[in-house]
Amino acid sequence: MSGHGKESFISRFVFSTDHKVIAIQYLITGLLFLGFGGAMALLMRWQLAFPWQPIPFIGHLLFSSSGGFLVPEHYPMLFTMHGSIMVFFAITPILLGALGNYSIPLEIGAQDMAFPRLNMMSYGSLFLGSVLITISFFMPGGAAGSGWTIYTPLSSSTTTSIGWGQDLLILGLALDGVSLLMGGINYITTIVKLRARGMSLRRLPLTTWGLFFSAVLNTVWLPLVVAALIMVLCDRRLDTAFFTAGPLAPRGGGQALLYQHLFWGFGHPEVYILILPVWGLVGDLLSVFSRKPAFGYAATVISMSTISVLSGVVWGHHMFTSGMNPLVGKAFMFLTISISIPTAVFFLNWLATLWRGSIHFTTPMLFALGVVFVFAIGGLTGLYNAVQTIDVYIHDTYVVVGHFHYTLAASVLFGAFAFIYFWFPKIFGREMNSFLGKLHFWLSLVLLNAVFFPMILVGLRGHMRRIADATGYTFLQPVQNLNVWMGWAALFLVGSQLIFFINFIVSLFAGRKASSNPWNAASLAWTTSSPPPPENFEVVPSVYRGPHEYSAPGSGDRDWMTQSERGSSATTFAGKETAVSVPVTSGKLGIWVFLVSEIMLFTGFIGSYIVLRLGNPVKISGLQVLNIPLLAINTGVLLTSSLTMALSLRAVQMRDYVNLRRWLLLTAGLGSLFLMIKFFDYLHMWESGFTISSNLFGSCYYLLTGFHALHVLSGIVVILCLWFASRKPAFWTVAEGRVEGSGLYWHFIDIVWVILFAVLCLI
């Protein structure tokens, strides 16, 4: 419940906890950054088409110091920020933030997300991140220029990547990561716990399934890259050397390749994080506009889960040319190619859904069909990249750029447009102009191919990926005309998006009023008014059938039946599959999902330490430099705090609130004692010359234990909040869940320390 009574403008639209308002916030942010990233793409295409020529109209405004044209150092900044913004601040907010927030509660029959305030904070974190990366353009030294992958050692050294722009990009991405984690926890908990009566898993729309798997992937893999980014930041500003080696790390260093593993450990699932919701949406839309049930519903969901699993074990195909072990490369090649099997199941099911359907070529349907078309090209070109021996030749060429623009730009963007055109009437209560929508689609389809397909052609001629001027290379001069072609096509492509923006704005104020179900769709969201009331449904719905009941017998003069309609063909409630039977509270489930992400975050740190330590010829053990007796005592202190925390829960279960307060206070006290001992340990070591930049062990020790200490501090704050709240009897009704959740977090911190104590101090 989010309580949407009489609210001020600020609380209604800025600090709202209503999932629908938050979705609109995400949508507007994403669209703004889409325009921003698109403008940067135009600047790059201009530079490649007409190298070092002044940029017409806006050149003097943007690059006044250089006479209105790009200088060499601008180009890396452009492709870095274009990639980062498009992936993390344009597409992600639109597809995960807006589509996820708007559709999930409505499609499952919930009143809001499971954690409305966490939802608000999730957007807040993204907003802060977007502010940081916007500011980064104005920092001395300019924006980041190390590529959207932020590869080390280029990004981790302040001699090669000098400006604060790089730091702000890293911080911005870390905040975006935190936002996605909060969103992931919310989506998973909401889908598992808040489904309406009768909404079994087999009755979930495919969009919701796609968002669910996307949230799972985010929760599991995103923390790895957050850990990597924190280590890059330490390398840059604290003189550590996690990712630098050789002369760059005179006191002994780490491995640049490690960063690539951590980055792509998340980076490849990211493709599926973005595409799975789109594929789910396409599955639903093809069904709605073919007026047929989605073919192979169960196979589609199984394919989604298979892809989710496989996406986490194929990251190495991005690193075939990095000097990685060729045997490992072969394993990654095999696994990568195997992803094409579940993907093919998707395509088969889509085509079978269309087969002999009564197809309605509405604007969302056109964009859904566009996704099928462009992803087919993207997927097929991806197969070549997955083969080790071919990848050696095409790596870092425009073939790769063309491939990922088909998969990550074209299909994901078309998916985003399909979402906006389909959901606009529900979100804003008005319809978008159909003619302008179709014009937008056809122009986008033609022009997008006019830009991206030649990328593959020039790439096959050896056009390198990150060069600002191809005319300097004799072998590339024959393809320069294609660069000019792509430049003009890109200009028209971006221009054609103005049709969308005009349609969006005009329809917002002057569009035809939308009915509750303008598409005659069957899923639950279309049974409520457009826009929906504050708590989504006037009456809490019950679900009797699947989300794709089209051309079903018993639907009378209509060709669809909504999920909440009873009828002769309605099946009974799905029994144990309903949300009621999930034997865990939302809060507890949310904490467990959070702990999943925490486990992966510490895997990033501890795993890095283990492999760097084992691979480093200079063996430094904690036994040589650390005060083991003191740390052992500190371990005892933290273990004792776990006991007192467990006793807190026991007290609350026995309704013994006096002892609850005592145990909570004692736990916070023991946590504080742990931190104090840690502080004196740091102080002593620092004074004896063992600092974070002394050597690799020092870097790892301070980072890992420091990060753990931050967790302890957070735990203490939470426990003290509980302690204050427990003074009031009103709290006692929710005390057990709160204490249990906080306890899970506290005990997890204990387990992390148990591992750190052995791995860092004793081995």
Binding site: V220, A245, G246, Q255, L257, L258, H261, G265, G312, V313, G316, M324, N325, V328, P583, V584, T585, W592, L595, V596, I599, M600, T603, G607, I610, V611, L612, L614, G615, N616, P617, L623, I628, P629, A632, T635, G636, L639, T640, S642, L643, A646, R650, Q653, E736, G737, E740, G743, L744, H747, F748, D750, I751, V754, I755, F757, A758, V759, L762, I763
Partner: protein, 103 residues
Amino acid sequence: MHETKSNVGLASYIWVFAGLIFLTALEVLAVSADFSKTAVLLFLLGTVAAKALLIALFFMHLKSEKWWVWLLPALPVLLSILFIFALFPDIVYHAAQTFEHRI
């Protein structure tokens, strides 16, 4: 509200706590004694796993949870182990070879 009541009593908590302290003391003793590095390493791996399990089972009450709640921590732990081992060929062995080559 809490739906999976803990059946862990006070005595169990105290025994688990005592076990944790005992294992920690054993760890410190093991590294101070004159055992082979491999033996100490294996021993520490065992004690860390035992301590983590004790905390998870009794303090976090996994002992009384449904099987699918077990999956939530088990899945990332398994992935973590796999991920770290996947780094060995590139980071551990590769780095050592590079170092030998430099020498």
